[in-house]
Symmetry: C2
């Protein structure tokens, strides 16, 4: 049922007892959002950490001049939030918006703290989650600095084929840091 995916996601890294699993799931809230709905608006407080049961979300930063920069995409089995805003209780620096109808599990920060306190294994799980997220971002930085746009596109397509199927070229362009027009000319060369 609705908790299967999230429990198996956690189960990849730590083993929970029945009691621990049910304590954890008791803190989860189910949320369904329609395509184009905002899960989080920039400058709002970010109250929840989200886990995607199904659908696709996109996190993006919006500048004063209206330029969008995609921070990340999330599909089923991914965790997503504005980690800066969530953990520091600060106005969020990004929007999170549904690319298609999505079902998510929500976890509040106070509940997460309860979980950490009661089940230390969750500290380990989130340590691993944050470690992987850090490595992912660092590798992305290296690629952005060292590779031309054309290779960044090729690598994105081969690394995230499932995401490529779901999102628009314009959204990929804003993830790669190029304009949609330029991505179009890159793709023509392929």
């Amino acid at each position: 049922m609705q908790y299967d995916l999230i429990l198996s996601n956690i189960g990849k890294y730590v083993k929970l007892t029945e009691a621990e699993a049910s304590f954890f799931t008791s803190k989860l809230q189910l949320k369904e959002v329609g395509k184009k709905a905002y899960v989080l608006q920039q400058n709002e407080r970010c109250r929840h950490l989200y886990f995607l049961n199904s659908g696709t979300l996109r996190a993006f930063h919006l500048t004063a001049r209206g330029k969008e920069s995609t921070v990340m995409f999330a599909i089923a089995d991914w965790w997503i939030t504005d980690m800066y805003a969530f953990t520091n209780d600060q106005p969020s620096v990004m929007n999170i918006k549904a690319v298609e109808d999505s079902q998510l599990m929500c976890l509040s920060y106070p509940d997460l703290e309860l979980i950490w306190e009661k089940i230390p294994k969750f500290e380990k799980f989130f340590r691993i989650l944050m470690q992987k997220a850090y490595v992912r971002e660092q590798l992305r930085s290296i690629q952005n600095l060292s590779l031309p746009a054309t290779e960044r596109y090729d690598r994105f397509v081969s690394k995230y084929p499932a995401i490529v199927k779901k999102v628009t070229k314009k959204q990929i362009a804003s993830y790669l840091g190029v304009t949609p027009e330029f991505l179009s000319t890159i793709r023509k060369e392929r």
Copy 2:
């Protein structure tokens, strides 16, 4: 003495007993490196996590064409390693090199696992460390995508004044993703 800085760094987030602190420090190895010495070479295995007691290190990726991209700088009180290579036991994707004479504490992965096992508080500490590192990288990505080089430079200078004092303009340029020549023209406008 040599453990004061690292213990106070950890103490910001978790409280250790005397016994825990001494178990932890028993796993640390002191290392001194001279200016320009390599702490890690790209493609080597990355056996250690490092904490800087003093000095300055720079982590950078080197492309086939010889282009350097600075991943991060570290000064006293910072942790640094090739997190990808360290945690996955893979060939490292970056070099780590001393910008000036430096003193570091080294921790091996097997020892870190022992510490996690014996003192779960360290899972929490590293969860927080990884979380902050993730947030830092994510904010850097957003800036790289949304800001022109000139503003990225201004923000770097105001965010990391202590690092600016230690490293060359060329190294800052490779962190910002511009050529030294272009950074020079940016600075002229200031």
